[in-house]
C-alpha cells in the first residue's frame, strides 16, 4: 500500500508544531475512515507535493493535509475523528515530562 516515497509524520513534525502550536507527533488521533487510533507519529507522510499529506498507516486514507500560502498555512484535519493528548497512563505515549 505504501511505496518508496513514503515518509513518517516525524519528517514534518516541525511544520505540524508550527501549525498546531504544540508538538503533534505524540498526539493521538482517530482515523475517520477506518477508526484506527494511533499517535500522529504513526501516520505516513507524503511531501513531494504542493503541500503535505498524512495518511493512516492502516487504511491509507488522508487524515491530515496542509498547504502553505503567502498568507499562512491551511490545515484539513477532517480525516481525523478526533485528536487529543495521550493520557499519562498510556505506556507507549511518551508524553513530555517537564513540569
Amino acid at each position: 500500500m505504501f511505496d518508496e516515497s513514503t515518509l513518517d509524520a516525524n519528517a514534518v513534525a516541525g511544520e505540524l508544531e508550527v501549525l498546531f502550536a504544540v508538538e503533534m507527533t505524540a498526539v493521538v488521533g482517530k482515523c475517520a475512515h477506518c477508526g484506527n487510533e494511533a499517535a500522529v507519529g504513526t501516520l505516513r507522510a507524503y511531501v513531494n507535493a504542493p503541500g503535505v499529506v498524512l495518511r493512516c498507516s492502516i487504511c491509507g486514507e488522508v487524515v491530515i493535509a496542509w498547504a502553505w500560502t503567502p498568507t499562512g498555512g491551511r490545515v484539513d484535519r477532517s480525516g481525523a475523528s478526533w485528536l487529543g493528548q495521550p493520557s499519562g497512563a498510556a505506556p507507549s505515549a511518551a508524553a513530555p515530562s517537564e513540569a
Binding site: F2, D3, E4, S5, T6, L7, D8, A9, N10, A11, A13, G14, E17, V18, A21, V22, E23, M24, T25, A26, A38, A39, V40, G41, T42, S92, A94, P96, S97, E98, A99
Partner: protein
C-alpha cells in the same frame, strides 16, 4: 509551563568532525538552546541571496546533557541540495539557520525502558546514536541491541565509539551489504526476517523498537517484526524515503 513556540534561530558552527568518507558531524552553538530528547531533530533552512530557500531535517546525534550545543551528523547526498552545502561550503564560524528540537514520538529516554531494539540503515543510525549515548551517559542498563546496516565497514558511522560502548547490556550488530573484510563474522546481507528473528530471540520478550533508515529497509523491519509477533505499537519508525 506553556510550550515555547518553535522559532528559527541563527546557530554558529563551532566544530566539524569527519565521521566517515560521506558523513560528518557538525556542532552547532545555539543562542536559544533548549534541552532535547534522544531521537529528536532540527530543521535546517538555507537562504540564497535572492531569497530562494531549501529546508531539510537532520537528527540530533548528541545526548541531551550537552548544553548549549547540538551535534547533527549529516551524510553527503551527491545530488542533494542541503547536505552538499554542509560538506562543501560550511566552515567553523559560519552561521546556519535552524529550529528545534522537534518531535515527540520517535524519542526514547531511560524511563521508557526496553528491552530496546534499534535498527539503522546508513545515516539512520544518527537518532539511535543519541539514544545509545543518553543510555550510556545516564548509566542506564536497559538491554539494548543495535542492528546496523551499512554498505561496508568504512561506512559505519561512530564505529570506534560503538565498539567502546558495547557491553553493559549493549550489543552492536553491524550487517554489511556490499563488502566485508576477510574474516568478517558478522551479518553480511540486507536486513531480513530471519535476521530479525535471531536478534529478537537474544533480546528477550516485548521489545521497544526504533527503526530509522531508507523507506524499504524500515518497511522490511516493520513488517518483519509484526510477523514475528511484536505489537505494532511497540515499533516506532522514521523513513528517509528512497535510498541513494
Amino acid at each position: 509551563m506553556p510550550p515555547e513556540p518553535l522559532v528559527w534561530q541563527i546557530a554558529t558552527v563551532s566544530a566539524i568532525r569527519g565521521e566517515t568518507e560521506r558523513a560528518s558531524s557538525f556542532t552547532l552553538s545555539l543562542p536559544a538552546w533548549r534541552p532535547h530528547r534522544a531521537g529528536q531533530h532540527y530543521d535546517v533552512r538555507l537562504t540564497a541571496a535572492d531569497g530562494y530557500q531549501a529546508q531539510r531535517s537532520y537528527s540530533i546525534a548528541s545526548p541531551p546533557a550537552h548544553t548549549g550545543v547540538v551535534d547533527l551528523t549529516i551524510e553527503r547526498i551527491p545530488d542533494g541540495e542541503v547536505s552538499p552545502y554542509f560538506h562543501d561550503v560550511l566552515e567553523v564560524g559560519d552561521l546556519v539557520e535552524v529550529r528545534g528540537p522537534i518531535g515527540g514520538y520517535f524519542v526514547w529516554e531511560p524511563a521508557l525502558g526496553g528491552p530496546l531494539l534499534l535498527v539503522a540503515g546508513g545515516s539512520g543510525v544518527v537518532p539511535l546514536m543519541a539514544m545509545i549515548r543518553q543510555r550510556a551517559a545516564a548509566g542506564d542498563t536497559t538491554p539494548t541491541t543495535l542492528l546496523y546496516s551499512a554498505r561496508d565497514v568504512d561506512d559505519l558511522i561512530y564505529r570506534d565509539e560503538l565498539d567502546a560502548l558495547a557491553g553493559d547490556g549493549l550489543r552492536v550488530l553491524p550487517t554489511l551489504t556490499r563488502a566485508h573484510p576477510p574474516g568478517w563474522t558478522g551479518y553480511a546481507r540486507r536486513v531480513d526476517e530471519p535476521m530479525l528473528a535471531e536478534v529478537l530471540a537474544a533480546l528477550g520478550p516485548d521489545p521497544l523498537v526504533y527503526a530509522c533508515g531508507p523507506t524499504l529497509l524500515v518497511e522490511t523491519v516493520a513488517a518483519g517484526l509484526v510477523n514475528l509477533g511484536v505489537p505494532p505499537d511497540r515499533v516506532r519508525t522514521e523513513r528517509f524515503g528512497p535510498s541513494n
